[in-house]
Symmetry: C2
Subunit: 312 residues, 2 copies
Amino acid sequence: MGAPGKPSPLTSWNDGAAKSQILDFVARVTQQGGPDFIPPAERIAVFDNDGTLWCEQPLQVQAFFLIDRVKELAGKEPTVKERQPFKALLELDLKTLMGLGKQALLELVFTTHSGIREEEFDPIARDWLAKAKHPKFGRLFKQCTFQPQLDLLKFLREKDFKIYIVSGGGIDFMRACSEEIYGIPREQVIGSSNKLRFEVNEDRAGLMKLAELNSFDDREAKPQNIALHVGRRPILAFGNSDGDLAMLRYSKTGKGPRLALLLHHDDSEREVAYDREFRLSPLGEALDKADAYGITVVSMKRDWNIIFPTAS
Amino acid sequence: MGAPGKPSPLTSWNDGAAKSQILDFVARVTQQGGPDFIPPAERIAVFDNDGTLWCEQPLQVQAFFLIDRVKELAGKEPTVKERQPFKALLELDLKTLMGLGKQALLELVFTTHSGIREEEFDPIARDWLAKAKHPKFGRLFKQCTFQPQLDLLKFLREKDFKIYIVSGGGIDFMRACSEEIYGIPREQVIGSSNKLRFEVNEDRAGLMKLAELNSFDDREAKPQNIALHVGRRPILAFGNSDGDLAMLRYSKTGKGPRLALLLHHDDSEREVAYDREFRLSPLGEALDKADAYGITVVSMKRDWNIIFPTAS
């Protein structure tokens, strides 16, 4: 594909259908004068984060952050340990936790992410991310990104794509690291968000994070939030669960060339193999109907020759 | 300020305090190694639209669009003419219309901007904007932009600022023309928005604009929406009414160098002179407290040597 002398892109991807489709798609939409040419301004790509750009097992990264925040809280208010959903979280009793439902999980998020000023949250998340390690892989969470995706982001940027993260994760949590780990600036991160209250204290205006949901950026909310934040239908979308299906179909069924990709975690040796079973956002319909919906399934095991970045 | 041989920026601005403050501010924050240097990624500037970037008298541009949409509707459903708020709008009875309050105005917006797919709205707005003329100035509405502001946008872009529109106007209406008239891409437009419903028809996924408010982007909602969409506190803000005051103070009271600007329409000869009186968003507190809040008042009469772009 590349010009002579230029290193070929996506070296972390094995040759095969998925890699070919990506390279072909990008070649077509960037070929000036070609029938499928799309101007740079319209080259919008959207990526889910948890399980798509970085590891989400045994829990999403933000859940580990929550645990540490709840532990801090429990240190100050010991009764917290006896109350659900805090108890289940501190005991890592995932079955009970999942059984409590999304509302309980939201309570966890609100308790640990609200009542502070918008700008106070960022250093808390950054400090945690600078030190916190994955329990199984023993590396910093922020190094639990997938190297083939980092290569894909870089390749798309070189081809003048504008890349957005569109994830169920907390918008402020992701913004605390998106530039550093993915090269994606804060304003290109769309996620779940709290409501904010505007207030002026001692002549300084600011925003207080409230314990009230503004948007849970999952399923139908993903295309809705893309329309709100971007105002353009993406031409490329990458997800890994049924929570991404609305976004994948919204992107894929626009006019002209489109590419929708679905990561299948099928590599128990190098990462984790999972899809339908016990998890917050299962992968069922998106996998079963991938062919019918024109979605390209990416197999971690088959399509990627490396998973995590090598230590630098 | 400029390098020798380079044309000086902001030639449409008269020399004076406002122009000096803008030039000084931009020089300080862009001076590499200087004490006030701000990296390009953080150079966020926010502009209100109606009355700040283009004319909003005798009515906001989008109100004229509404009138034409309601006329179309009245052609199909004649009883519409007898019902408020449609009657007042069609009779241009502004006093009655304003007296009906914001809720009635929202009904107008919903009736004329909803029940269609997200992507169907754009060509409707574009077609209207290609032809509709201002009743007093006799020029296309999209040429009722303010030349000194176009020059300021260009200057800021050359200095690596990222510019957002943050306006009470409809987000989709502004996005239909922001790139063409201001050079501001769709994703850098924040405005009032309807809720959207995700739906799949005949295998094509899309979003339906609903007759339900998502956000009325005025007053406190402006900083709230800036935090949601951008995730950074702006370093420069420009408005023209009390509806912009929260955004101006949010921007101005951040740490480090900041510039907040307020346009005062005091030029009855070349445009319109108005501030406190009868209008949807009056200008009172922002003008009275400008000094106390550190807001720079820009006088259209004194600071601008041209108002509208010359015909090209």
